[in-house]
């Protein structure tokens, strides 16, 4: 396959960025999108140009590092991560736009790499269960109904990639935050911190500069792990419940 790539190039956080055009040739349909970018970078290095910086690591769709907006869609046309997107999803001769996540709370580091430290700080605000090592009771001391365990798991699948934020017209992190709150708040182990968790995480989310939620639903459409929109509704209920209990 022969393709034209239009890639966002930005030297550093404060430098102005622009789209740059590159022709790539000899692309196999079995390549992943990132392997296609590897090919471009090998060419750029040999031509003495600066290769395109992009985040990636496991290339199995689980670490959440890769983060490209492809033709306007977070992670591109398939519902998966960029590393699991294959070139068979494109046609010979296509022009493909490649951009970084764009959100105020995710400043660009270089080219396609952004800083998602704000996600870590949301988790630090309460996305955990306080269970210091050694303090745990026997695992079978508390049975967890399968339905609740499955609900927790389905939300715990979030890989923290940030596609939800990139897809949202408001740059909101509601789906990311609600996934963790749903995971932990449904479990009996998570219930002692149920109220403080949701209040603190939501407050941090707002402080980090993420936008508000208007239920556009783009986040759930972009989520490579299929975390669904009702997750946000459930978080809102948890938040109102905590507020009513007068814990703030």
């Amino acid at each position: 396959m022969k393709l034209t790539l239009r890639v966002w190039r930005q030297q550093s956080p404060d430098a102005p960025g622009a789209m740059a055009s590159y022709a790539v040739d000899g692309i196999s349909k079995d390549m992943s999108f990132l392997e296609m970018l590897d090919t471009l970078n090998e060419d750029l290095i040999l031509r003495g140009e600066d290769p395109v910086a992009f985040d990636h690591d496991c290339r199995e769709g689980i670490c959440g590092a890769c983060s490209l907006v492809i033709n306007g869609d977070a992670h591109g046309p398939e519902r998966t991560t960029t590393c699991q997107l294959h070139m068979r999803s494109f046609a010979d001769g296509d022009t493909i736009d490649v951009e970084p996540w764009r959100a105020a709370a995710f400043p660009v580091v270089k080219d396609l790499v952004v800083d998602r430290g704000s996600f870590d700080r949301i988790i630090q605000a309460g996305g955990y269960i306080t269970a210091p090592t050694g303090a745990a009771p026997e695992a079978h001391a508390t049975a967890v109904p399968k339905h609740d365990a499955d609900h927790a798991f389905e939300h715990a699948e979030c890989i923290g990639c940030g596609a939800c934020v990139a897809a949202c017209p408001n740059g909101s992190a509601m789906l990311f935050t609600s996934a963790k709150i749903n995971h932990l708040n449904v479990l009996p182990q998570g219930s002692p911190e149920r109220e403080t968790r949701v209040l603190d995480m939501v407050a941090t989310m707002d402080e980090e500069g993420f936008g508000g939620c208007t239920l556009a639903g783009e986040c759930a459409t972009a989520c490579p792990k299929g975390i669904a929109l009702p997750s946000i509704t459930a978080m809102n209920k948890e938040w109102l419940r905590a507020l009513r209990k007068g814990l703030r």
Binding site: S12, S28, M31, E35, E42, L44, I45, L46, G48, D50, P51, D55, H56, D57, C58, R59, E60, G61, I62, C63, T80, Q84, H86, R88, V109, V113, D115, R116, G117, F119, I123, Q124, A125, G127, Y128, T130, A131, P132, T133, G134, A136, P137, A139, H140, T142, A143, V144, K146, A149, D150, A152, F153, A156, E157, I159, G160, H183, L184, L187, Q189
Partner: protein, 651 residues
Amino acid sequence: MSPNDSSFVHYTTGEPLADAKAPEGPIAERWDRRRFGARLVNPANRRKHTVIVVGTGLAGGAAGATLAEQGYHVVQFCFSDSPRRAHSIAAQGGINAAKNYRNDGDSVHRLFYDTVKGGDFRARESNVHRLAQISVEIIDQCVAQGVPFAREYGGLLDTRSFGGVQVSRTFYARGQTGQQLLLGAYQALSRQIAAGNVEMHARTEMLDLIVVDGVARGIVARDLVSGEITTHHADAVVLASGGYGNVFYLSTNAMNSNATAVWRAHRRGAYFANPCFTQIHPTCIPRTGDHQSKLTLMSESLRNDGRIWVPKAEGDHRPAADIPESERDYYLERIYPSFGNLVPRDIASRAAKNVCDEGRGVGPGGQGVYLDFADAIRRMGRDKVAEKYGNLFEMYERITAENPYEVPMRIYPAVHYTMGGLWVDYDLQTTVPGLFAIGEANFSDHGANRLGASALMQGLADGYFVLPSTINDYLARHPHREAVDDTHPETAAALRETRERLARLLSVDGDRTPDSFHREIGELMWEYCGMARTEEGLRKALQRIPEIRDEFWRRIKVPGRGEEFNQSLEKANRIVDYLELAELMCLDALHRAESCGGHFRGESQTAAGEAERRDEEFSYAAAWEFTGGAPVLHKEDLVFEYVHPTQRSYA
């Protein structure tokens, strides 16, 4: 700068090495005895101690969180943008624990026995027994953290079986067990970061170890965003930086997993043990072409219900559906009737290689075997299969564009895990005082072959329970250290050498990319130090590696500058270390003229083609000392008091 002595094969044998920390006495009491014998640091004094932890995977994340909970000041590093992305996250299948919830005859002793046997009698009994004991506490700890393990309808935890064992002791969270366990550790770590007990440096990579007066006192690191090279000092340094499987270029490791932390520590005096013990995982998706950047694992749990086969006849290229039952060879079930498709990984991998070498492989290039779920779908129904393996099937289809519900999966072995690593004693301390290695970075528990679902167990055992106990003893015995800063000659030297190495990489301005060298060394290692090794091949590799290294330093091209975000520089610097480590791996493989576990020497096999150990000569761990030229071998004799070494049989 790089060891370039062509006489690498003329290594010498030095003083034997002994683990002085494991207590005597009945094996089941040793861990308690060690903990009681270990000195403690008063809670009020702990905050005066700084501990550096490199890595945030299962071992590092668990250790950082636990040490901080105890009151130590932890300074932690990861090269990713977030500690949540460490490669432990990609572990799929599960974690072993001797809970015996199934009442199927499991016990701590059986897990101990299975692990020693599975490791082909090349691990230390004391360590393995401790691991089995701690396994049950890990499950308790993770459940308390909210790790959503699979559960039965009654609300209790579900388990499944894994290769090399006949009980169901593997706890799992669909095909994402590593992710869930890692997020548990990451969340515990996050709590400590928020509390100010852990100073987290993301996107920062360790490039050297600072050793002052023979004691580990800090690290040299590079901020990957600004390119700034900094030093960090501490009272102890813990390496939790993972394995070195990426020496092979193609592996199931993440793209950025690398050997730099352990290799630089080795160069500063930490012995490297059993570097040739690498695990080739039998069930990975075959490669599709030269563009391939990494290989993807399909969880071993698939072997619970999938049946592995190839056509009986050579060169049978019919589609799988057109090959009648009578013309299929379910070779694992045929050769190993009692374990069948669930033989240990080394055995399953070698068997796959053998049938492919016979010309019976399937798929492009004949480098694949079928993993077939047709029987499972008939027996359990498609929905049940989807519930158990759905995400793995989806992943397979996404990569190959083939639907495994309809056509059998094609799989082939790939490099997956490294049992070798820095030599550590029972306290997980390396030969450099004050330097500890945990998780895959050390060599301690898996011998010559790791059983499935045991990596997660070991990483968490080391991080949550072992290291936080043993490091107390070290810190209590060395309470008052003189402060070290950048003006100290040993720190200044480490800093200068790191800067010079990076500057040299940038200045060569040759005509080959870092990847081209990585690919070359990887192919060489796969060819001569992969699934089957011979003296002839290893000698060839040992001759070739210094040549590649020379060429690297003449022809490498790294664009850009050091004082900026520069992924090519990161990569090239890691390859510098692979090009040295590869040589030690080949030397270790050459010197160990026996077969054991994942290390298969063509010259040492039974009549049936199985690995033949030679206990009289090789019942030891090989710990190598760096000299700059030919290394020095130190042998730690392995003593088996509880599990009698036998020829492993899974037939």
